[in-house]
């Protein structure tokens, strides 16, 4: 048990070193990501769920908005100048923050749509059950419901 946790800790340390090394060599990219992904960081802060659905939702869309600028940076000039130039362009901001807004919109609208679907499905099932009960009463009489005693209309002939 102790050996397994020690191994996990060493793996984490190796990964951190690799990531830190990469960050040092890709600072303009890191700059774009840090600024462009600000809505995602905000979502991480407000997301109380363990599953982090808000973060996933906003982050995915936010990342789509950031990717074109990262691609421009990597394909044209991977430098701080280029990074600042991109950050100084309002269209860039609009795309990065707008895509995050779409993420937020999906996050807020989807539950309502799901609720509508669920309600429709439940109502459909209730209707089916009610129909079955009606069938049972038609086949076996009102006594089958247990709420109404069967009426006995037979009276001895006097």
């Amino acid at each position: 048990m102790a050996a397994r946790s020690a191994s996990a800790a060493s793996t984490k340390a190796i990964i951190l070193l690799v990531v830190a090394g990469l960050l040092v060599f890709t600072l303009p990219t890191v700059l774009i990501l840090c600024v462009g992904m600000l809505p995602t960081f905000a979502a991480v802060l407000v997301d109380r769920r363990r599953e982090k659905y808000t973060t996933l939702c906003v982050g995915s869309m936010n990342f789509v908005g950031v990717i074109p600028f990262l691609a421009t940076l990597w394909t044209e000039d991977h430098s701080f100048d280029m990074a600042f130039k991109i950050l100084g362009d309002p269209i860039g901001w609009l795309m990065m923050l707008g895509s995050a807004g779409i993420g937020w919109a999906i996050y807020f609208v989807a539950p309502n749509i799901v609720a509508m679907f669920m309600a429709a499905r439940i109502e459909q099932r209730i209707d089916r059950l009610r129909d079955r009960q009606t069938e049972l009463v038609e086949e076996w009489g009102p006594g089958v419901s247990g709420s109404e005693a069967e009426k006995d209309d037979a009276e001895p002939r006097q």
Binding site: L56, A71, F108, A110, L136, W140
Partner: protein, 666 residues
């Protein structure tokens, strides 16, 4: 008024009464045979409440000679005047009139020659023929004598089958043994009892009137006959010629061993003459025994006194005085032996509990006078008189209770042990009586006192209030009778009651106790009682091949409606209703029964209903749960909605990212 037809052979004119041929319990009407084989006939329309002598009727068929009104046939007819079916007896009409219109009538005394040729000779021949056929007349008296010819020289006995034996006989026409019994319990008796009645009738003809016009106190009369002899009490001070005195003393002897038989009378008619015997009185005890304030000097008198004072008789029997009287004063070893045999030793008698007094007195009476009627709690009857007594007094609660107490007393084995000779008919009654206590003490329909009634009266009609007016005597007549009831307007609650059940049990070999016993058990199923009755009557209809009874089936259709309605499955119920209607239209009860006897269908219905109930309940539970879910749909959808949003975003993000990378790479 109209003519009533009996068996397609006889026409009875109910507007033509013939009062001259009336019997005390039956009215005579003109009757004509449809064939020429019979002469003038008359029909006796009998009282349905009075049991008739069916066995005697059978034995009387083809009776020869002119000494007895000829019995032709019997049956049951719809008697409009009474609005019911009544038994009818057909007889050949006597050529002459009744000899004594009433018992109080006075006629010209008959001469010896008239008596011998006109009365005794045909009477003796008739009695001899009756004896040969193993039956008795038991209805011989002057008011039941007719002239058999227009010249009024020959006499014949009247009918003897319209009432129980001896029922219509005045007290002094009955031998002492029969006179001590209740009117209805006198029993078939023997030809010796007929000889006694012949003697009294002879005396009437001899003196031209009734020798004992008034019997003020019947008990005192019997007491006097016991102590001073019947001859002394009946002949009294009437002057009798010497030649007739021998015959009368012989016929009126109280001791049956001393009484003249038919053979003795024949010999007398043939010319044998003996010195008239003195009246033989019962042996006297050395001192009298006082019972109920009266002194008794002989054993028969003491037994009679005990029977009359049965309420205090137990104390008398237990007293030392009684024991001393029996063992010392009476000086009769047979009596002592009888007491030891059926009552017990003096010690056992004295130790007998007070509650057992009535039984003790009955057994003591039997031991003291074995030839007397059986007497219990004031009820006095010969063994074969119990049936007619019960039949005639069945509506009387006292009679029912008395007969029940008598049957439960189980006196017969002791009584049989005391009889020196028993007739075969008595043995038959004995075997019937032996099985009665077990039947009487069962409470359900088919048992009890009603069963005793029909076991003891094998020819009596069913006395059920539903069908008594239809006078049915055989089980095969039951279903048609019930069909007639069903065709009426007012229906009884159910076509079965205690009388019908007991009647079937006693009369039908096909309906035994096993089949009737379910009627006693409580059945909580819908129409359970109706189904049990249906099962029995279906069997009766089938066994006796009665035709269709659509009215009865319709009656059962109504009665079994609760059973049909007990089917839960409405479709099946409807199918069964249709099936019941179709079966009822056939008129055969077993068709109806087949429907209700399908136990598997009932079981299937019950199981299906149970399952349906469970399914209905499950549906309700599910709906309740879903309704609750519907109310909380926002909270339920929240997590799922976030998941969905994450997935959508993830998918869109992936697509978008991939598209952008591809775009920049190209």
């Amino acid at each position: 008024m109209a003519k009533v037809v009996l068996k397609d052979r006889f026409e009875i004119d109910d507007s033509m009464a013939l009062p001259q041929f009336d019997s005390p319990t039956a009215k005579a009407f003109k009757c004509v045979a449809r064939t020429a084989e019979f002469g003038d006939l008359f029909a006796l329309i009998c009282d349905p409440k009075i049991p008739m002598r069916a066995e005697t009727m059978e034995a009387l068929r083809g009776f020869p000679g002119i000494g007895l009104v000829k019995f032709i046939d019997s049956g049951v007819v719809n008697w409009a005047a009474a609005n019911q079916r009544q038994p009818v007896l057909i007889f050949e009409m006597p050529a002459g009139t009744r000899v004594f219109e009433k018992l109080s009538s006075v006629i010209q005394p008959l001469s010896d020659d008239q008596l011998i040729k006109g009365f005794l000779t045909p009477a003796v021949n008739t009695l001899r023929e009756l004896s040969a056929r193993g039956i008795t007349h038991r209805n011989i008296r002057p008011t039941n004598l007719f002239y058999s010819d227009t010249s009024e020289s020959l006499m014949m006995f009247g009918e003897c089958v319209s009432a129980p034996p001896g029922y219509n006989q005045p007290l002094h026409f009955e031998s002492l043994e029969c006179a001590m019994a209740d009117t209805t319990g006198r029993g078939e008796g023997s030809i010796a009892d007929d000889c006694f009645a012949l003697g009294v009738t002879l005396l009437c003809l001899l003196i031209g009137r009734n020798p004992v016009p008034n019997i003020m106190d019947p008990h005192q009369f019997v007491f006097d006959r016991i102590n001073f002899g019947s001859y002394t009490n009946i002949v009294g001070s009437h002057r009798i010629q010497m030649n007739m005195m021998e015959l009368l003393r012989g016929l009126l002897a109280d001791d049956t061993r001393e009484r003249w038989s038919v053979r003795d009378v024949q010999l007398w008619l043939g010319g044998r003459r003996l010195t008239p015997k003195q009246v033989k009185l019962p042996p006297k005890a050395a001192r009298p025994l006082t019972i109920g304030g009266m002194e008794h000097e002989n054993v028969r008198s003491a037994a009679n006194g005990l029977a009359r004072n049965w309420a205090t008789g137990g104390d008398v029997v237990r007293s030392h005085d009684f024991d001393n009287w029996v063992r010392r004063s009476l000086n009769d070893e047979n009596v002592v032996e009888n007491i030891n045999r059926v009552v017990g030793t003096p010690q056992a008698i004295q130790a007998s509990p007070k509650a057992d007094d009535a039984r003790l007195v009955t057994r003591m009476c039997m031991a003291l006078d074995p030839h007397a009627p059986l007497r219990h709690k004031g009820f006095s009857t010969h063994i074969d008189g119990i049936g007619p007594t019960l039949a005639m007094g069945f509506t009387n609660e006292n009679t029912r209770e008395t007969v029940s107490a008598f049957v439960n007393g189980r006196f017969l084995p002791q009584w049989m042990a005391l009889q020196s000779r028993t007739r075969s008919e008595i043995l038959q009654v004995y075997s019937t009586l032996e099985k009665l206590p077990a039947l009487l003490n069962q409470a359900g329909p088919g048992f009890g006192i009603e069963r005793c009634l029909y076991e003891l009266n094998p020819y009596s009609h069913c006395m059920s209030s539903m069908i008594s007016h239809l006078y049915i005597t055989r089980p095969e007549e039951l279903v048609p009778a019930l069909e007639a009831v069903a065709q009426g307007h007012e229906l009884p609650p159910i076509p079965m009651d205690r009388h019908v059940a007991a009647f079937l049990a006693a009369r039908s070999e096909e309906i035994d106790d096993r089949i009737l016993r379910p009627l006693s058990s409580l059945d909580e199923r819908p129409a359970g009682d109706a189904l049990k009755v249906l099962r029995i009557l279906a069997r009766v209809q089938s066994v006796y091949r009665n035709g269709a009874a659509p009215g009865l089936c319709a009656w059962f259709q109504t009665l079994t409606k609760p059973a049909v309605n007990s089917f839960h499955n409405l479709k099946m119920r409807h199918q069964i209703e249709n099936a019941v209607s179709r079966a009822a239209e056939t008129g055969f009860l077993h068709e109806l029964l087949k429907i209700f006897d399908d136990a598997k269908a009932v079981q299937r219905d019950e199981q299906g209903y149970l399952r349906a109930q469970q399914e209905h309940a499950q549906c309700s539970a599910q709906m309740a749960q879903m309704t609750l879910s519907l109310e909380n749909k926002e909270s339920l959808a929240s997590e799922l909605g976030e998941q969905v949003a994450a997935v959508i975003s993830g998918v869109l993000g992936s697509i978008g990212a991939t598209t952008a990378i591809i775009f920049y790479m190209i």
